[in-house]
């Protein structure tokens, strides 16, 4: 009996400790060890930060050589003052990691194809894709290239050392909460990881092409339809470089061969993402001749996936020779979009197609055919570690074109054709030097020098200086191509299909101080058709027309104008389509409820305010219309096919209302555009009324749109913010749809003592348990800005709420 009395509680205690200290699997859900997670000593309670900052005022860090002061302003933005550059980037690494370590590491794990280590076999296909695309391979090459420059080597290594100093200070208790929930530990940071992060950005911004889709369309529908559905240029383009600008250089060294397109149908299921029509950005600069201050103003707002913790981290970096402020990417040193006392700069995505596919003719296991010869294949064996499973070893072939992404080991659906990827992102580059140089730029010459370091992803760099210059250049390594080269999959066995070299940087689209008094870019075509080189890409039509209309008025602009334009909700798509829809609508037999919607739309000003109801109704009709028009592109679910963009669709319906493709095939008769618009109106109106009935709320635009700022791990919904009350949409300057939007809004006035304003949908802290995790979201949604605190030296003002000193 006594033995039992001892045994039972003791055994129960042992079992309980064991269970609570083990990661459990309940169906699909993995539960971290509950004892550690719920312990107030080491668990998530430790991440429940008090509202007031209570950090140490003096900190010793071995890696420093001098004294560094870090001041936090009332929004908790750190202002770093160092005595030398090594210390500056060391502290940038340390401070950034302190707020954002988990996200930095998570993103680089994703980029490297290491998600399976965290979540298990569900991510294997994703990881294999990442590795086969070659991001880690490219980051590897980039590090060697970066190390050739002593400056960038020092910057990268100091930053990594700073991140590692922070990692070294972590205990079980102070680990970011995501590590506790997913149950793993951070590893050391390296320059390789910084390179990976930059490759991750390249992937997001240049990692798209429609080569498979276009090849399929060509093989299925013929050239005429391809040109109609996916034109390289539509009419009505308002390019970045003003219309009529002369390009005074000859094009040399491009031979257009007679070429053939590989037959066959291709599938690209793993690259099928959502249409990236929501990716983009705005930037512009207005000359001092047209501002109320007499000095240039610059605005930049990159539209990216909206995430928490935010992709951006605000910082001021000061050391002898540099004093700059702006948005940084956690994981990378330097300011990416920002300003200093003399200049300001911003970026939008170029969208130029820098990714092409080559069909590879394998000869046995180890060779492939090229120009009648057999060339050797390089192999790379990648070991993918899988949580809760055995390692997976993938064999990846490399040709001189690039990695063979698809082959028999990684086939497309029903098609094992080996396809190699040529992509500028895979080439060695040192984009960091661009930002390093811009951070220190004094004027226009420095800006041009900085850009020459920049290869990929192609960006439109807008620039303005205190001395009065404004400029914009589309910068990147852009391949020279013969007309239509790379639109379709190419024959990898012939040198005819090789890229023809790269466009010299001084011939990239560029304009300085144009007569119209402003420069702007919103992801549209960089030039008109007189630009001597052929190019194609992913271009926007509506935002460019809007911003150029707003900036093209002969008057003096103010900072408030810049803010208003960034948050402008006017839709050119609605302006183009809605009158056409309404004039074709048969209103004689409309039901009363539809009549009301008709009246609402008729009075609408095409402005997508958060509480607009016509915006919701119009969107529902537009979505329906796109499905009705492009039904021909729906049934091919085994093939990759692309839907034409909204701009092309509207032009097509107006120009060719009786075209065979306008007809909706599943119905008896043959519809023309007018009939289709009537159906779209009815179905859209039904949808609108259903939504209202289902949710019991007015279908205000923001409710229907449901803008969500999602945590990087989407299943961690509690760390996300849903239903943000904000207007705008893709193809609108305030380009906020459900998942993407202005990830950082910045306006800089380059007057004496530069002034700047900014906001982003997040907060400085990456800790969901901090009150600084998402404090800016509401201001961002309302279109409000914070004036940025730009300090010349460490000083105690009412804007500074906390000061830390770091010494060796």
């Amino acid at each position: 009996m006594k033995f039992v009395k001892f045994l039972v509680p003791t055994l129960l205690a042992v079992v309980l400790v064991f269970v609570l200290n083990t990661e459990l699997k309940l169906g699909e859900i993995k539960v971290p060890p509950l004892g550690s997670l719920l312990s107030p000593f080491t668990g998530f309670w430790q991440n429940a930060e008090p509202k007031q900052i209570n950090w140490d005022k003096d900190v010793k860090l071995d890696g420093l050589t001098g004294k560094v002061t870090v001041q936090y302003d009332s929004r908790r933005v750190p202002h770093i003052f160092a005595e030398n550059e090594a210390d500056l980037y060391y502290m940038q690494g340390y401070i950034t990691a302190k707020d954002r370590l988990w996200q930095m590491e998570f993103i680089t794990h994703v980029a490297a194809g290491r998600a399976s280590e965290l979540v298990g076999e569900v991510a294997l296909k994703f990881d294999r894709t990442q590795r086969r695309k070659g991001l880690a391979y490219a980051a590897d090459k980039a590090v060697s290239y970066i190390n050739e420059s002593p400056t960038s080597k020092l910057v990268m290594e100091s930053y990594a050392a700073g991140v590692n100093a922070y990692i070294g200070s972590l205990t079980d208790a102070s680990l970011p909460v995501e590590y506790k929930l997913i149950n793993y530990k951070p590893e050391l940071w390296t320059p390789f990881k910084t390179a990976l992060l930059l490759k991750f950005m390249s992937d997001g911004l240049s990692g798209m092409d429609k080569d498979f889709e276009y090849t399929n369309a060509l093989n299925l529908f013929g050239k005429e339809m391809v040109d109609l559905l996916y034109p390289d240029r539509s009419s009505g383009i308002d390019p970045i470089i003003p219309l009529g600008t002369a390009y005074n250089f000859p094009v040399e060294g491009i031979d257009t061969p007679l070429y053939e397109i590989p037959k066959g149908i291709f599938h690209s299921s793993i690259f099928d993402g959502p249409e990236r029509e929501n990716l983009g950005s705005n930037n512009w600069a207005v000359s001092g001749t047209r501002t109320n201050t007499g000095f240039p103003m610059l605005a930049s707002d990159p539209h990216l996936g909206l995430n928490l913790p935010s992709i951006w981290y605000e910082i001021q970096l000061t050391a002898p020779g540099v004093n700059t402020y702006g948005a940084t990417l956690p994981g990378s040193p330097c300011v990416i979009i920002g300003f200093n006392e003399d200049v300001a700069w911003g970026v939008t995505n170029a969208g130029m197609d820098v990714r092409d596919w080559y069909k590879i003719e394998l000869v046995g296991e180890h060779k492939y055919r090229y120009e009648g010869e057999e060339r050797s294949i390089t192999y790379r064996y990648d070991t993918i570690r899988i949580k809760g499973g055995a390692d997976y070893i993938d064999t990846i072939r490399f040709t001189h074109h690039g990695p063979v992404v698809y082959d028999e080991r990684f086939p497309q659906k029903g098609n094992a054709t080996p396809l190699a990827l040529r992509w500028t992102a895979l080439e060695p580059s040192n984009e960091l030097m661009t930002f390093y140089t811009l951070n220190r730029a004094k004027g226009h010459a420095d800006y041009l020098e900085a850009l020459n370091y920049y290869f990929c992803p192609g960006q439109n760099f807008v620039f303005a200086s205190h001395t009065g210059d404004i400029a914009i250049r589309q910068q990147g390594k852009f391949p020279k191509k013969w007309p239509e080269q790379g639109r379709y999959i190419m024959d990898g066995s012939s040198s005819k299909y090789e890229w023809q070299g790269y466009i010299p940087f001084e011939q990239n689209p560029y304009v300085l101080n144009p007569p119209r008094g402003f420069v702007s870019s919103t992801n549209q075509h960089p030039t008109d058709s007189t630009y001597p080189y052929y190019y194609a890409g992913y271009y926007e039509y509506d935002r460019s027309r809007r911003i150029n209309e707003l900036l093209g008025v002969d008057r003096k602009y103010t900072v408030d104008d810049m803010k208003q334009f960034q948050t402008d909700n006017y839709s050119y798509a609605a302006k183009d389509l809605l009158p056409f829809l309404l004039e074709n609508l048969d209103t004689t037999n409309l039901e009363a409820s539809h009549q009301e919607i008709y009246a609402m739309l008729k009075d609408w000003d095409y402005v997508y305010t958060a509480n607009s109801k016509p915006a919701t109704a119009f969107e529902m009709m537009f979505d329906t219309l796109m499905i009705l028009v492009w039904d021909e592109l729906q049934p091919y679910d085994e093939k990759a096919l692309a839907r034409p963009n909204a701009y092309v669709t509207i032009q097509f319906l107006k120009a060719q209302p009786n075209h065979d493709w306008v007809d909706h095939k599943s119905t008896e008769g043959k519809e023309d555009a007018a009939q289709l618009l009537n159906i779209a109106f009815k179905l859209g109106a039904e949808n609108y009324l259903d939504w209202k009935a289902n949710y019991g709320k007015e279908p205000e635009w923001w409710r229907y749109k449901n803008t969500t700022i999602a945590h990087w791990v989407p299943s961690l919904k509690a760390f996300s913010r849903q239903m943000v009350e904000i207007g705008g949409n893709r193809h609108i300057l305030n380009a906020t749809d459900g998942t993407h939007g202005a990830s950082w809004r910045m306006v800089v006035s380059l007057e004496d003592n530069v002034k700047a304003w900014g906001v982003y949908p997040g907060g400085p802290s990456g800790n969901p348990g901090s009150h600084s995790y998402e404090p800016f979201i509401d201001a961002w949604a309302k279109g409000e800005y914070y004036e940025l605190v730009f300090l010349k030296e460490p000083q105690q003002t009412e804007q500074i709420i906390f000061t830390q000193t770091f010494t060796k």
Binding site: T10, L16, L20, T42, G43, A48, K51, A718, F719, S770
Partner: protein, 115 residues
Amino acid sequence: MRFLIITLAIALVSIVVQFFLPWWSLAFVAFIIGYLSNLTGWAAFGAGLLGAGGVWFAYAMWLNIGNESLLANKIGPMFFIPEPLLLVVVSAGIAGLVGALAAAGGRNLRGLLAK
């Protein structure tokens, strides 16, 4: 009185130990103090429950108040616990249960050896 002293002893020693060792070190603390105590089995159980659980309750509560329940409101629902206070209680319950069983086990080991 003795009960109170034992409870406090478990609480204080487990606090010190948990600043250096994993959470389950509290089981050893409760077991040893339970062994050294001359409480009844059930009293040792109670002392472990209140001593180890009380520490977790108080510490979690303190952190939660300083945080204005911000994080508890996000973590709780992941485990179907909508109330921050309930999450504090559940957390404390873990330490309490382990502490109680270990203390009772320790006490009863003494009973076993003392025959």
